[in-house]
């Protein structure tokens, strides 16, 4: 009986954790092309304890340049700039007019900006986000989505930087150890290092196992300077 209760509690914890994980402020696209200028979209899954999201500030990660935010449901944007390099945007804030604040936390929001991403493939960038919510009685509350991996608190939005690639075969030399291939190659059909192969797709993993002369490449099996073939 005790085990059943503990099991139920554990299951409830897992469900709560996964529910909150899905509700985080997160990058709409889990990966982005390193060194390219593209649109970064962040999804705001929920407000704060039933209060609608009123303002969002995104700290622009180091190495990201040419930031040009888009207007959104929040209306116009305001920018802050680096003290030394006065053209470098360091944060963007989207804030609603008070009249546009909703009485309850009912809506999903998307904010976006175009920027040039760092030319650092096989790394991740993190967007620290500060959320302000406004209740129907005009009370403000705050949520900080700033925790990096290994830190306590609400996680910053992450985006994995992948090298520029085309559909078909692509050959890369890996600049540093890749701790988890699934972060960078979830959308690849297959990844090869020599005669070792990896795929995020379970059906393809079965084919790899069933093919003579091919070994399954573990998710952490690619090291710096390895040459890999990736088919997208």
């Amino acid at each position: 009986m005790k085990n059943k209760v503990l099991g139920s509690l554990a299951m409830a914890g897992v469900l709560a954790a996964s529910a909150s994980a899905q509700a985080h402020i997160a990058a709409v696209a889990p990966t982005a092309i390193a060194g390219k200028t593209l649109l970064v979209e962040l999804g705001v899954g929920h407000g704060c304890e039933g209060a609608d999201t009123y303002a969002i500030t995104v700290d622009i990660p180091k190495g990201m340049t040419s930031v040009r935010p888009m207007e959104s449901d929040f209306g116009k944007t305001s920018l802050t700039y680096d003290a030394v390099d006065t053209a470098l945007v360091t944060s963007v804030t989207w804030q609603k007019d008070e009249a546009d604040a909703l009485p309850k936390d009912t809506n999903y929001y998307k904010i976006a900006f175009r920027a040039k991403l760092p030319a650092a493939p096989f790394t991740s960038i993190y967007y620290k986000i500060h959320q302000v919510c406004r209740a129907a009685d005009a009370t403000l509350s705050y949520a900080e989505w700033v925790a990096l991996p290994g830190e306590m608190g609400e996680p910053a939005a992450a985006q994995a930087l992948v090298p520029d690639h085309l559909p078909g075969w692509n050959k890369f030399t890996v600049p540093a150890d890749i701790p988890d291939l699934s972060i960078y190659f979830k959308d690849a059909l297959i990844v090869w290092r020599g005669s070792d192969a990896y795929s995020f797709n379970d059906a393809t993993v079965e084919l790899i196992k069933g093919t003579q002369g091919v070994n399954l490449l573990s998710a952490d099996g690619v090291k710096a300077n390895d040459e890999i073939w990736v088919r997208y």
Partner: protein
């Protein structure tokens, strides 16, 4: 004179008519070997893979009449990277 012109035109037409099918035949027979492309394709493929009977699973060859099929327990050739030959 008119007869001469008519004759010349007829000869030219016959030349053209007899030439076209001949060209067609030659192209169709040359691509016909490619058309019976499994043999031609596989021979050039096995040449690329080392000659003779295909002994290795290699990355895909250009086989016009090969239809995509679901894999049967092994990686399809489309998933084998260029330059890698695997024992079959």
């Amino acid at each position: 004179m008119k007869h001469w012109l008519f004759l010349a035109t007829a000869v030219a037409c016959l030349w053209g008519c007899s030439d076209e099918p001949a060209q067609n035949t030659s192209t169709s027979s040359s691509s016909g070997t490619g058309g019976s492309s499994s043999s031609s394709g596989s021979s050039s493929g096995s040449g690329g893979a080392g000659g003779g009977e295909p002994t290795a699973l290699v990355s895909c060859l250009d086989e016009v009449d090969a239809l995509p099929r679901p894999p049967s327990g092994k990686l399809p050739c489309e998933y084998i990277p260029p330059g890698l030959a695997l024992p079959q």
